[in-house]
Amino acid sequence: MSEFTVAYARPRREWLAAAVIWSAALVVTGLFLWIVGDIVRHGIGQISWGFITAAPADAGRAGGIGPILVSTLLILGVCMAVSIPLGVGTAVLLAEFTSDDNRFGRLVRLSLDVLAGTPSIVFGLFGLAFFAKVMGLGFSILSGGLTLACMVLPILIRATEEGFRSAPDDYRLSAAALGLSRTATITHLLLPAATPGLVVGLVLGIGRALAETAALIFTSGYVDRMPGSLLDSGRALSIHIFDLSMNVPGGNANAYASALVLVALLLIINAAAAWLGEHCLRQRIVPV
């Protein structure tokens, strides 16, 4: 009997753990509601169809954010178009083709970890020197998108790699026994199985890209005109918010409204990323 007395102490510890976990969730929710509530309360009044489509006027105090929204989406598009293939490729190499003690793999992982900690302003200055000047792209949506791609790569790679690592070895073994090539195994089995990791990477990466200010000031620039091409300079939403709240007296109201639009945009893009992951990759993986 005596060895099972521990069981009596359990409910209390169990209760305590549950209490701690629920309160952690409540704290996070509270903080979130506080911050987002603040944005919504101050920003909702400005939001209208006109605000979303019109061009900014009077340094952003008046008018809307139409061209800025377009620039933001273009920058994000460039960033994702470059970072997703590069990131997934690297993640596949790291997870499927290099063992833990492989030197090349460790080197790449190390450099990615350092890249993950690189301050955004250094990315900005680097992007200005490398993409804008050396590669001759100038202040452009392309420069901004490429700089952001460098920034989100480590997040994307790490998350995707985790996804691949979590796919059971069973799949690899039985696929090999069927004589499936590495490529077929990866594209048809492991990639779908790694989708949750990829989606987390995307959500974090998109979040970081949309939220980025310092890296974009020096690369995609400050021009708030509707961009005509990817080689035009275009102001991103986060820069607009920064400028309005820190540099333009009287810009607060529109700064809040722009932040609200950004949050809404993020909500839509995240949902789309999750949906795409679910339907384009995962569709074939049928959970029981």
Partner: protein, 277 residues
Amino acid sequence: MNDMRAEFRPWFALAERPPCCEPEPFIRTEHLSLHYRDKPAFRNVTLAINTGCITALVGPSGCGKTSLLSCLNRLTDMIAGAHVEGGIEIGGENVRAPRTDLIGLRRRVGMIFQKPNPFPLSIARNLEFPLRAHGVKDKSRVAELLETTLTEVGLWREVKDRLNAPALSLSGGQQQRLCIARALALKPEALLMDEPCSALDPLASGVVEDLIASLRMRYTVLIVTHNLAQARRIADHAALFWVRNGAGELVEYGSAKQIFETPREALTAAYVSGMRG
């Protein structure tokens, strides 16, 4: 009826079994040894598996039977630290040559695992996807193969209305038959089976066993089993493995009739009579 058979199975079938084997060996190993890092799995195995026969590998756990199977389709390549010595020849080709076409080899030599391991895909895609990966692109051909192989393993009637259901929703026995169908769809010449029935309940096990028996003559089957009665029922040949000096060794190899009725080695006699092992 089908279910009844699983339990009342003639015990005397051995002698009456029609001759199946062409004396031509399909798989041949020469002084084959395998060790994982420092731990030997089996050593010095020389075997010739006849074409079209069912050959059972029997013996206690840990004597290297499963490892031997993974050597044959070079799945050992995927295990870090596995080191193989000796020769393997399948269908006249040297499997151990560095330039062996692994993909082709594994298509020709199917493998069934102890635990049914369908992919987490739909039933149909479990068959379609490997076919497509092996170059069968024509949709009607894929559909045709899907139906014939599922029929061959007796699954077609059971699943034809829910081909898009998840494979993992099938019962254990159905999953294992699906895995066999998945291997058969690739038109292999040989099948390596690693205790294919041991994870199944007796009824399902009986169905799968009947399926394996029906593969005789058409495929060269190498089956690892702990179930001596099963080996007796379905095998044409049998090989007994035993652990000696910390590694598996081949003790005796011969026709099933000979191994089970007139074993040459005392160890074999003791094992098949149930006195050891």
